[in-house]
Amino acid sequence: MIDVLYFAWVRERVGVPKERVETNAATVADLIEELRVREDRYAQAFSDTSALRVAVDQTLTSFDASLEGAREVAFFPPMTGG
C-alpha cells in the first residue's frame, strides 16, 4: 500500500487529490503502467510522462526510481512557483 498524490492538472484528470493504492510496483514507471491500464482517467493523466514530474517521499526523483520502502508518491506538472 502506498499513498499516491496528484497536483494541478494531474489531480484534475485523475479526479482525486490523494488515494491509497494496493501495488507491488518496483519502480515509479511500473506504478504508472499499473495505473494507466486501470481506468481511462489515469490513461489521460499519464498520457505524456515527459510533461510530468514525480516525487517519492517528498523528494523529486526520476521515473526509474525504486518504490521500495516508499510511503508516498506524488505526480504533478513542472512547478510554477515564485
Binding site: 497536483f7 494541478a8 492538472w9 504533478f76 513542472p78 512547478m79 510554477t80 512557483g81 515564485g82
Partner: protein, 147 residues
Amino acid sequence: MADTRVQEQPFALGAEVDRFAAGAGGAGAIVSFAGVVRDEGGALSGMVIEHYPGMTERALADIADEAERRWSLTDALVIHRYGALGPGEHIMMVATAAPHRADAFQAAEFLMDYLKSRAPFWKKEQGADGDAWVEAKADDEAALTRW
C-alpha cells in the same frame, strides 16, 4: 539561520523588509524581491496557487540552506503564499542580507530561480476565457544551469 514560511494569508512586504533588515546584524547589503499578481491589462481576475504541504516546507528550507552554503549571507528570508490571490497581491518574497552586495544579489537570484522550478507550487490563472494552469517556461528551467 534562514526563515522560510508557507502561508495562505497575505504578508506585509515593507514591514517584512524592515524586520529583516533590523535583524540582519552586520550586513552592508539587503536585497529583497517580491512577486506580484499581474492583471495583464485587465485580462486576469486573479490566480489560485496549489502546493504540496510538507514537501513545500522542506523544499523552501533546502533551497534557503543551499543559498546560505554558497554565499556569505548574514540572513535569508523566504515567504510564499498559496490559495486565492487577486491582481496586485504579493505572491511571495525573498530577502537576503550580506556584508557585500554581490553576495546578496546573487543569493536572491538563486533563491528565485530555484523557487520557480523546484518548489512544489502550481499557479492557475483566472481570466475572461476561463481558468488555465500556468505552464512552466523553458527559460526558467534553463536559468538553473547558471548556478
